[in-house]
């Protein structure tokens, strides 16, 4: 099992007192499998993704990736996890504005020590980015930026890809195309995919789906 989440709880302090976002979540995911997390706004999808990515820490509960407990890792350990094991795709793309498309594509792979120009060229071809490698993020459309973000995640050959509303900012047709590409490439690399989305239609295209409501899974 690649990902094993046990009894995960998370709350946020506010002026009005703590807001409980996740109420004891259990989740597991095998290699090569894609899983859609659906749920309305505020249901805790993004929070769950960030906890799994080691971007934030849970109040209680356990997260194991490849058998390694995230709770045991310090800041440096979590950074290494994000560098080498997981990759993130965000709704806002979050490309690095000061680097061109080619450098953005290679960036995470180089940080992870897995720079493979041949693989990046292949990804650029598949994602339709070959003609715009010297452009900067601000010169790209939303669909192009999201394809670069997906390419960046895949270029690092992570074992787990975490995608937070990756098509949320795109129109339906572009979103479908981008998702199809992502699923195809994920299956090509053998990575697992955990994707948060509002769309039941898009969720239906993944291997599994789980619905979050008020911090709990619903069947």
């Amino acid at each position: 099992m690649l990902l094993d989440v046990r009894q995960l709880k998370k709350s946020f302090a506010t002026a009005e007192g703590p807001v409980h976002v996740l109420h004891g979540i259990d989740l597991n995911l095998d290699r090569g499998v894609s899983l859609a997390l659906t749920g309305e706004s505020g249901s805790g999808k993004s929070t769950l993704l960030y906890l799994v990515a080691g971007l934030d820490r849970p109040d209680t509960g356990e997260i194991y990736i490849d058998g390694n407990a995230l709770m045991a890792l310090d800041d440096t350990g979590l950074a290494a996890l994000r560098r080498e094991t997981v990759a993130l795709v965000f709704q806002q793309y979050n490309l690095i504005p000061s680097l061109d498309v080619a450098a953005n594509l290679a960036f995470h792979a180089r940080l992870a020590g897995r720079n493979d120009p041949e693989w990046q060229r292949h990804l650029a071809d598949r994602l339709g980015l070959a003609g715009i490698l010297r452009r900067y993020p601000e010169q790209l459309s939303g669909g192009q930026q999201q394809r670069v973000a997906i390419g960046r995640a895949l270029a690092a050959r992570p074992r787990l890809i975490l995608a937070d509303e990756p098509t949320g900012n795109l129109d339906e047709a572009t979103g479908d195309t981008v998702l199809a590409l992502m699923l195809s490439l994920v299956s090509e690399t053998g990575s697992a995919l955990l994707m948060a989305t509002h769309s039941q239609r898009l969720a239906g295209r993944l291997d599994r789906r789980l619905h979050l409501h008020a911090g709990r899974f619903e069947q």
Binding site: G42, L55, I96, A103
Partner: protein, 801 residues
Amino acid sequence: MKTALTALLSHWRRHPVQLATLLVGLSLATALWSAVQAINSEARTSYARAAATLGQDQLSTLLRKDGSRFDQKIYVALRRAGWLVSPVLEGDKRFGEHRLRVFGIDPLTTPPQAQAVNIAASGALLEFISPPGVFYVSPETATKLAGQATPPLRAIDGIPSGVVITDIGQAQVLLGAPGQISRLLLWPEQPQRRAALSDIAPDLIERAPDETGDLARLTDSFHLNLTAFGFLAFAVGLFIVHSAVGLAFEQRRPMFRTLRALGVPARSLMGVVCLELLTFAVLAGMVGVALGYAIAAMLLPDVAATLRGLYGASVPGAIVVRPETWALGMAIAVFGTLISAAQGLFGVWRLPLLASAQPRAWAQASRQTIIWQLVAAAALLAAAAIIARYGSGLMAGFALLAALLLGAAMALPALLLAGLSAGGALSKSAIAQWFWADARQQLPGLSLALTAMLLALAANIGVGTMVSSFRQTFVGWIEQRLASELYIATRDDTEASAVRTWLASRSDAVLPIWNVDGEVEGMRTAIFGIADHATYRDKWPMLTASPNVWQVVASGDGALINEQLSRRKTLNVGDTITLPGGYKTRIAGVYSDYGNPNAQVIIGVDKLTELFPDVSRLRYAIRVSPEKAQDLAANLRSTFGIPEQNIIDQTTAKELSLQTFERTFKVTGALNVLTLAVAALAMFASLLTLAGMRLPQVAPVWAMGVTRRRLAVMELWRSFVLAILTAIAALPLGLGLAWILLAIVNVEAFGWRLPMYYFPAEWLRLAVLSILATALAAALPAWWLSRLAPSELLRVFANER
């Protein structure tokens, strides 16, 4: 309107640090400017007071063409011929450590315009004209003279500092000029029927009132220098304001758009924004002017010392709060705020209602902007080169300074961009490439602060090099000028004669230091007599000289003039000058005379006594082997009862001269440090501003596995790199500045030109200081980043929670 204002002000409640930065920047800018203005205003008031002493600013005077004194019989002849004139004798006199300007007047004939105090009406006439007489002085001078052997002192407000007014008979005794007067004051109303001046006193000419005064003219360049510094500090301070206001405008862009969409007219919105800015300007202006007065009060004693040392001007050491300085300070604060906010205000005025918010658009430097800046820089630097080649005079010097500094400021972003691009091209790892690319992207947001740093650092290097060059030259020069082991001032001719006889067998040589004051080529000049001795032949700091210069001077056939006289009157070796009394002589040499405000002429001592038989013969330089100097001084004191301060040994004399020198440049030093501090603050403000806007750039890198700690270290490194590149750019600029100061501005301002020396260790110290200041400025944002909660970084990605 009120609702809109409340909405706009809510921004500052949520961003108190930004508000503080804005107010501190504006206060500091206003403070430094006001400090300089307060000092200038204080000095100018003193000059005006000096110019008005005895009504010179209102009354015409009769004096000799060469300015020398004349017999009082001429005064008597003129009075008899119907002229309403009043005699004045004027000269310098040392009282202990203080050299004062003594004015002797006749209280019975003095015109009302010349009456600093109405002696006749005050009932003090008898006391004034009867021995020992009284000294009318300013309260400050009275304090200085306390304990000295003087006639009774009467402190009167309105008399210039450093001036003594006494009865003319008493002045003639004090100045050793029996029966002599310097000039005659003319009553404004003269009898119709009176004899022609040329018939009674053909040697005298009439001079119109001098409203400005020599001091004001002489010190103009000094105050211009000070003003230039104040302006530089003000401009550097405005960089902070621009940075804070720019950020506030950018962050509130959506709010402006919303207010406009809700029906607030553009004109009203502009009005509200202007009102908000003016409120800040007034608040910061008040604090700034108050702070300015504090700085001025701190610096004024040193400025007064500088003016006394360089120009002989006497300025009181205390600051007076003047309404015009307050008004000017407030006006400059408002003006500075509006200038700094002009770009933002224009943005609000032209804000398109439906355009999507483009955060940081103000910070995006387009290639075109950089190209335009480079073109402007090239034009300004070309203009600087042309002025340097063909310009002359003080204004050309300042125009050259302005063109050079502005040109360099314009060129800096392109230079930094080139440096950062080179760094990026040489880097190998992903994180290094990101580092350089990210630094390039931050450049537009930091370039203003870096420009401030460039200007402050260049000013430090330039002024530092100038001062150090001056110091090095001065130290060498003082070794030459103060070659004798002891200097003695005897109290009267009898003592002088006895001392000379006593010393004849106890010293190697006794060299007279005798001088008279007079007018040479229209300048107030001290004329010295010099003995034909190896002390001078071997050591005198000659700049240019004819062959056999010392023989020529000793034989009475030539004169030496100081550099000030040479430059101001374009006189050189071989030219002829006329000394008071009409004696013409050729210039045999020009010597350096640093630190002296006045013109000086040296002739052979025999020629001096021949031309001016009444010359005071009280001061001497004594040559003796150095190891015997202290004993000899002690013997002199005990044998003749000569006061301690009347015998100075070489070491003490040098120390005193160097102390005066160091004090002279303390003010520029202080302003330099303050400017650098303001630049560091500008850097801090910019980095803090950027820190709040950088999360979208930093968060993805963090999410991909770079720790916050490493990112913080990289933030520090980025500031280091930019500071180092700026320091490298500041070096040639600072040296250019030093050259302009030494070769053009100082020559005009002080009348002497100094060689330029190089001080790499000093530059390194300054560079390290500025890099440390930048690092310090970057430390807080970096620390903030290293401690940033993940939840803050996650906001960048969050669509929901």
